[in-house]
Symmetry: C2
Subunit: 366 residues, 2 copies
């Protein structure tokens, strides 16, 4: 594995001291920040995540703050999702597209106030898209990156741990809703959300200097819950069908192709609308599928994507794949062409280390 040189340009996070002390063994870079890839191993981290509770440094989920009289107007231009009924404590998963429906990012939007939204972004400078649109259309909004670094608490014991630090009211936070909770002298937004299917919360830590005190408080409170440092887990997220923008879908894909049609219900004139509405009416030419790949726990690392064939015909690409201990199969995410995506279809996958048989599944595993 290649080593990475830290720099001012590729930075650590407010929680890096904790992450390093906890023994992160490998990283990726996400929004020009370090994001741990695993601590003990993908498999050991996965087991622990499903049984206990983990604290994740997801400061890489940078916020794009959109604030001002035209904030909702800009959100409506950018969002295929209906923004009209969004409540002030709500989080919306929002695919963001160009004029041809090509995905530019897939943030979680938080409504902070009537005239203020945060976009908690996937990897990519969505700030520049929002800023370009706002300036191009003379909108009265400020678009900037605030000093906010999310920390996630994930796993079946997440709620119990959170209650110990933030109080009983944590239990009343509904899924993809948030409350403002007090930690020491600071009020942070705490949402029931996170990039796992094990349940949990994301704390939007404002003020870099608040990072380590909160990290330490969570670990101090959770010893008997077996709390550990963790990170988004490759195995668990594929089982759960959680898509990674840049890996599983890109600008060349629409949200309909990414299986996100249900988030494209805006009645407003958003950018990309005509292409997206046409694909909703007629179906896309390819779509994200859950795929099981046969064979044992010996797949090579998939860093490039693997071509998928139906006999002689190229029918798509597998973007993410790994062995699942719980389902005893290689779980995968792939973009498959029309005519070949019915559940039960048997395909062949070129892994670069031999061909494997694979099958389209009805749904993801979790």
């Amino acid at each position: 594995m290649a080593g990475i040189v830290p720099s001012r340009r590729v930075r650590g996070t407010p929680f890096s001291a904790g992450v390093e002390a906890a023994g992160a063994q490998a990283y990726t870079v996400y929004n020009r920040m370090l994001l741990p890839s695993y601590f003990e191993s993908y498999t050991a981290d996965y087991r622990h995540l499903k049984d206990h509770v983990q604290v994740w440094d997801v400061a890489v989920e940078r916020q794009v703050s959109i604030k001002g009289p035209d904030a909702l107007k800009l959100m409506k231009r950018m969002s295929p999702r209906d923004m009209n009924r969004m409540a002030q404590d709500q989080c919306y998963y929002v695919p963001i597209c160009d004029h041809k429906g090509g995905m530019l990012n897939d943030p979680v939007a938080l409504k902070i106030a009537e005239d203020h939204y945060w976009l908690s972004i996937a990897d990519g400078d969505l700030l520049q898209w929002a800023l370009g649109l706002a300036i191009g259309q003379n909108m009265d909004v400020e678009v900037f990156e605030p000093d906010v670094s999310p920390l996630a608490v994930q796993g079946p014991k997440a709620e119990d741990l959170m209650v110990r630090v933030f109080g009983e009211d944590v239990r009343n936070i509904r899924f993809f809703r948030y409350k403002r909770m007090l930690f020491m002298e600071n009020e942070f937004i705490v949402a029931r959300s996170g990039w796992s299917k094990q349940g949990g919360f994301e704390i939007y830590v404002e003020g870099e200097y608040n990072g380590m005190p909160l990290w330490q408080a969570l670990f101090a409170a959770g010893t008997d819950l077996n709390v550990r440092a963790g990170c988004p887990n490759l195995i668990e997220r594929i089982e759960g069908g959680l898509l990674s923008y840049g890996s599983d879908m890109r600008r060349e894909n629409t949200p309909i192709e990414a299986g996100l049609a249900k988030f494209c219900n805006s009645p407003d004139d958003y950018i990309g609308r005509s292409v997206i509405e046409a694909q909703k009416a007629h179906g896309p030419n390819r779509i994200i599928c859950p795929i099981a790949i046969e064979g044992a726990e010996d797949l090579p690392h998939n860093a490039l994507g693997w071509n998928v064939y139906n006999k002689e015909t190229w029918v798509g690409l597998i973007s993410s794949a790994t062995w699942s201990p719980d389902f005893n199969i290689n779980v995968a995410i792939g973009m498959i062409e029309r005519g070949h995506w019915d559940a039960g279809t048997v395909l062949q996958v070129d892994t670069g280390a031999g061909m494997r048989q694979a099958m389209i599944k009805e749904k993801f595993w979790i």
Copy 2:
């Protein structure tokens, strides 16, 4: 040094096979691609770069292609630099700013045709800025990332090596100009440019599959010139005052603060104009300076930036610093506040491993 996990999202380049075989020892991530940091060592790479010729994988310099009837109109909106007299074989270093003059990137623009430009970008999705503006203002242009990966040939023997692969006409390429040169069946844009002060060229390789054949041809032709794989070198680029966007200047800085006033001469109504013109008239409140730090070759790694003081007063930040074997001093780049930036001013630098005395220099070292 932390290890980095390769993925579809953080990709290799068309030259990665060559880079790995040549023994890159560490990487950074730049535009979601791997960029080598050094091969033998910073110092050994530096010595070789100044004496011989190196081939650099700078595929991370992604191109933003702006093509269509409104291409020049969009360029004029984005560029503080006068675009009116740019010739069709010319390369322009262009700081790109928001409406408050805050730098969003500092690409090299290439004029490909009257209605077609490439922006060879620094780290950051400038594509989303250009696309947002274009769509926001209903401009008739396509904004996309083409399959182009620059390869640099740098060092005093660069011209001799290039002639062997592309022919004698290489010698006629002027600084920051380009010619279309034939390699096998392909015509590539070859510019006299690159992120060193040792002279050399950048080849804009179109078609990923052309990467390794060109890499191999350069190495085969250059054995007696002592050609080696290299990369932008930390020491040489600080000596030469080559700024790194994201490290030395960011959105909170204007191009005037970054010492780039001479590139802000546009007569057109570009974004950020009023702030930039005011700073040109009255001077900025801080500016990039060359700084010499006293002491021996034992500075710690500067990954966060170092605060700079004038006695009790905070006066700026050193963003890049390293030992220079040729100048026998620690060379540094810092942003220094008004009133403290005169050459000869003695300052104190908090390196995190003790205070060091430092001095503002008249100019960079090369």
